[in-house]
Every structure is written in C-alpha cells, then in structure tokens.
Amino acid sequence: MYLYSEFDRTYVRNRVRMFRDQVDRRIDGSLSEEEFKPFRLMNGLYLQLHAYMLRVAIPYGTLDSRRLRQLAFIADRWDRGYGHFTTRQNIQFNWPRLKDVPDILDALADVDMHAIQTSGNCIRNVTADHFAGAAADELSDPRPVAELIRQWSTDHPEFTFLPRKFKIAVTGSPNDRAVTRAHDIGLRMVHSKEGQNGFEVIVGGGLGRTPVIGKVIREHLPEADLLPYLEAILHVYNAIGRRDNKYKARIKITVRETGIDAFRSRVEERFRIIRKEFLGADQQVIRRIRDTFAEPDYVQAPTAAFDDALRRDPAFRDFANGNVHRHKNPDYGIVSVSLKAHGRTPGDASSKQMRILADLAEAYGHDELRISHEQNVILPHVHRKDIPAVFAELSRGGLGTPNVGLASDIIACPGMDYCALATARSIPVARDIAVRLREIERDVGSLKIKISGCINACGHHHVGHIGILGLDRAGVENYQITLGGDATETAALGDRAGPGFPADELVPAIERLALTYLDIREDQDESFLETYRRTGLAPFQAALYPDAVPKGRGGHPERSNDAVS
C-alpha cells in the first residue's frame, strides 16, 4: 500500500501541531466556537448528540495490520473500546474528549494516518472500490488515482471553503462497487476505443434531501488531464454553487440549475486555462504511487483444503458462497468479513475484533485489509487453501457471520443513537430486521437493505433494494420505505412505497416484503430487485398496506419536498 513520503509525514505532523494550537486557543477563549468549528471539522472532529466524534480517514478504505492495531489502541486508550466503520470507508470514534484529540491525531500520524478533511465543506476523503487490486473483473487498480486525488485535494488553498462538502469516488471495474453515480464526482476508469487509459467523469450525483443520479460530463478524459479537469470542475462549482441555502448548495443542484451542457462548457473553458499549469510532476507522482501498490507476492500451492472444507462443512459452504468473491488470481479469494452479526450494530468492531482481523491479515492476507462502504472488512488476498482456517478464526471472534449480500447485511448510519442531525434511530431497526429475517434470508438471497436516520442519507437508503428513512413525526419516530433502488452500474433511486410506519410496525412490514418476494418470484434465480423491476410496486404495496384501498397510482421517486416534518 501507499507509503508516506517525508513530505506527507511533515505535513501531517504540522497539521496536528496546528490543531493542537487551535484547541488551546479555543479552550483559552481566543477562538470563538463559531471560528473554531470549521477548523475542528477540517480535522474530522464533530460534536454529536452525547459527545465529540472523531472521524478518521481510511483513504480508499485501505489498511494494513499495523494501522488497524493502532485504531484498536486508540479505541482502548481514548475511547470506549470500539469503533464504527462508515459508508464512506472511514472509522468513527464516538467518545473522545476535546483535549485528547491532538494526542489521538499524533497517534494516527505515528502510523501514517490522519483525520484531515473527513468533515467540513471541502473535498472529503476519496473512496474507491473495496475490491480494488484484487477483483477478477478489474481493468485497473483505482487506488493510485485515489491517492493522487488525496494529495491534490489535501489543504487545497482554493477548495477548503466550498459551498458544501464534496465527495469523489473512483472505480476501476465495470461492475461499480463504489457507487460512482451517487457522488459529487464519480470516476470510472475506462479504455478508449484506441486503447488509451482514461476516465469517464460523472458529475452531480448524490443522495441526501434531493437524490440525483450523476451525469456524464466527459466520456473519455485522458489520464494525464485528471487533476486539471477536477480543478476546473471545483473552480466552477466554488464560483457559482449556491451559498444562500444549505440544501441547495451541493454540486448536483448547481448542475441541475445550470444545465449539464452549460455547466460542461464552463468547465471546459476553465480547463483549457488550468491545464497549462500542470507541467508534468503529477504524472511522475502517480507512477511512484503505482509502484507502492504492486501486486502481492502470490503463493503457489494446491487449493485442495478449500474444496475439502466445502464438501465436509455446511457452515463453511455458506461462508464460501456468500463471503468469498472471485479474485483475479484463481487460486485466491477475496474474503468479506461481515460486521453484521445478527442483532449487533452494523459496522461496529471492538478493539479485540480489530486485532483478530489484523492478525489474520498478517498471517493469511499479505497484510492487506479494506473497509467497504457496506461497512464490512475485506481481506482482499487470501489463498484458497487458507480460507477454512480464516473462517474458523473469524468464527471464534464472532466475525464469521456468513451473511454478506443477504438481508441482514444491512447498511445503517448511526442515526439518533449518536448523530446530532438524526430524526430517528437506525441501529435498533437494523438489528431487529436482521434478527427477524434470519430464518428466511438464505432463501431470499441477494437483498440490500439500507437505513438512514435522516434525510442526509448517509445510509444510502435511496439506492437500497429496500430503503428505510427514519423521520420525526411530532417527536415520534416514523419510517418511510422505498423500493427498487440500486447502487451499482445500473444505478436507480428507489420508489416511495407509501405512508411511513411507526417503529413497532416497521419490522413486520419489511418481513412482509421479503415474504411477498418469495411468493411472487418466477423462480429461485430471479432476485428481489429483478422481481421488483418485473412487477413494479403494486404487489409489494399490497403487502405493506393490506388494509388500504388501492389508489391506482404508481410509486414515484422519493423527493425532497415531502420529507422532513
């Protein structure tokens, strides 16, 4: 993985020192809260419902055992012994104290990590396909590109006070696991007809109050033009993005109000000027970065142990079918470790579990780990012969749940148990649904349930096969269901199913959806999403609202104006 240069180290230490100084000035009163807030946010420090929350960047979701052990150490030393992995491939600590935060940041810097730009109206931590560098379907590893963007966007003097936050995702596979169509900028690595490497650039996607699927602004951008082109997009956005209304400040609104064609011509015009300022060093830097992402030293050995275990052990069979994905080296597998044990909090890992994962990565996984936006941990390179041993050790640590891709593999944001912006809880809902669907989830097969605790949509509910949005109805939680969303290369926003459900009626309602699917699918090969696309909303609506008089009106994509009470 990427190794910090001396420059990176000096930079990160300097930032810690600056933040230490800012904390001191806040405590002694020479910075007001209003002035301090943007600086603490730029360093990933939020003030949540019960405490501060520190969001640590895991650039493009890549970790090794040393870094993961340090996160475990931080959890024990300054927090409550656990961390929460987020849909942006970051980790959040929920209980740090203000005066300890500079020390935590120093501890992160010790292992070449930081919390820079994990918050605030700046370019946030860049995300990438969590199978990067390992996936069988990959054209090209997106991580060097993501690292280049991390460097370019770090402390960018022009883009640290944007109208709103700005998220970039990169994928190198035609099968989009990075949700590139729901980002401010999505980059898909493609080959042109002439075989030239480049990017399809997607702009103005996003979830939140106004969900939008991004639009292509450039079909084929040559590799060397990437940074000046990004700079041109950000330049135009910073100049004309709205600042009068926080809900209209994201680039998706700028693009919508300007029109994609007019927006594109402005960008192209700026690009022509900015391009001249990039004199070539960026290409040298990315070549150097690429060298640090060299392929692991694959082991050549028979895979018989894997096939044996498949035959002998039904539990292992479930695990291998769901949690192991195709690696570009046929002797290897990509192992997804579920942080979704039934009845637990999605995405939470104890310090003990982090250490188990670190040990496994070191022993069997070429010392590599990934965090997925689906809030799981990935061991990207495990030889098939070792997967049975990995499964056994995971199971001992409560990490062997074979539910990846199934109904209980739920994305859930922190919701009102932690988040100051929440309108309802997400975690208890996710826990209850997982327990309730446990018996039928294998039969149901691929089903993506995604839950957000407010309209900000950190839980990606719009692109869940079943999306759940928690709202506040006069001080009481109420949950709205959307159906048919899709986060992949065939991205789609879910349709609003109808009126929301109070908390105690939600879980049975979700169960009715799953049972209805089992009832009406054409055969076992037709997935929930395929069935939904075939039948539309009607049979599912009938299951959700058995007592309702049919309205004879189809669903409509969930929109902003009917959301928060």
Partner: protein, 143 residues
C-alpha cells in the same frame, strides 16, 4: 483604522477609503483612472476586469464570511488571467487562512481592530512561518 496583514507583520492601511466601488462607479474598466484601486464583490467571474488590468493597481476582494471561499477562487482566476497588481482580501478572514489566501494570489489581508486584538500579529506570523510546502505545488511543477 483597519489593520493590514502582510508576510512581514501588521502594517497600517495606506489606502483607507480610496477604493472605488466596482458595482457603482467602475462598470467600464477601460474608463478607470490609471493606478486605480477598486473593490470588487466575490461574485465576479474575473473576465469583466481584464480590459482594465493595465489601469488597476490595487484590487480588494470582500469575504462576507470566513467560510465563503469564492474570494479564493476569484483571486486565483484573476492571477491566471494575468492581473499583476496588488490584491487584498478584506472582511472576516482568520489567521489560520492566511497561507491559503497567499497561495491563491492575495498579497495582503485587511482585518478589523476587534480581530486584530483577538488574533494579534504573532498568531498571523506563526501561521505564515510554520507553513509547510504544499501538495499542489509538488503536483503542478515540471517533472
């Protein structure tokens, strides 16, 4: 009187009240007197000023709030278009943003007395002197 922050520390304002207001007086930049000082809103795109570049000696860009970053983008663009005169940021900018402002092409920052009291010269100097090189510089130079 306002305080002007420069790399060398605080200086008194040598230009107080001499800035022409772009929105009122200076709509046609080719009519400006030579050596003019002009205050511009951060909502300009930059191109409007090009015909007056040889007449403008000093520009002041307003930051209505320290989280409104349009001024940074405008400054950068003016420099790209070839503006070579003095460039001042005024309004609510903090010491922690001084390096940013300089990197975007500003020469100086104008602050009011209240801020100068809470963030004295030493704080601004510290932020300037302790800066590290920038990623952007490393990525843009020649290979």
């Amino acid at each position: 009187m306002a305080t002007i922050v420069t790399d060398d520390g605080f200086i008194a304002d040598d230009r107080a009240n001499e800035f022409l207001d772009w929105t009122e007086a200076a709509q046609d930049p080719a009519d400006l007197p030579y050596g003019a000082a002009v205050e511009i809103p951060n909502s300009l795109s930059g191109e409007e000023l090009v015909p007056g570049f040889d007449r403008i000696a000093h520009l002041r860009i307003c930051f209505p709030s320290h989280v409104d970053g349009r001024g940074f983008t405008l400054a950068r663009h003016l420099r790209r278009l070839g503006y070579a005169g003095r460039l001042r940021a005024s309004g609510h900018l903090l010491a922690d943003q001084y390096v940013m402002a300089r990197r975007c092409g500003f020469d100086e920052v104008e602050i009011d007395d209240e801020l100068a009291r809470r963030q004295p010269e030493s704080v601004w100097q510290q932020s300037w002197q302790q800066q590290t090189a920038s990623y952007q510089f490393l990525l843009q130079r020649e290979a």
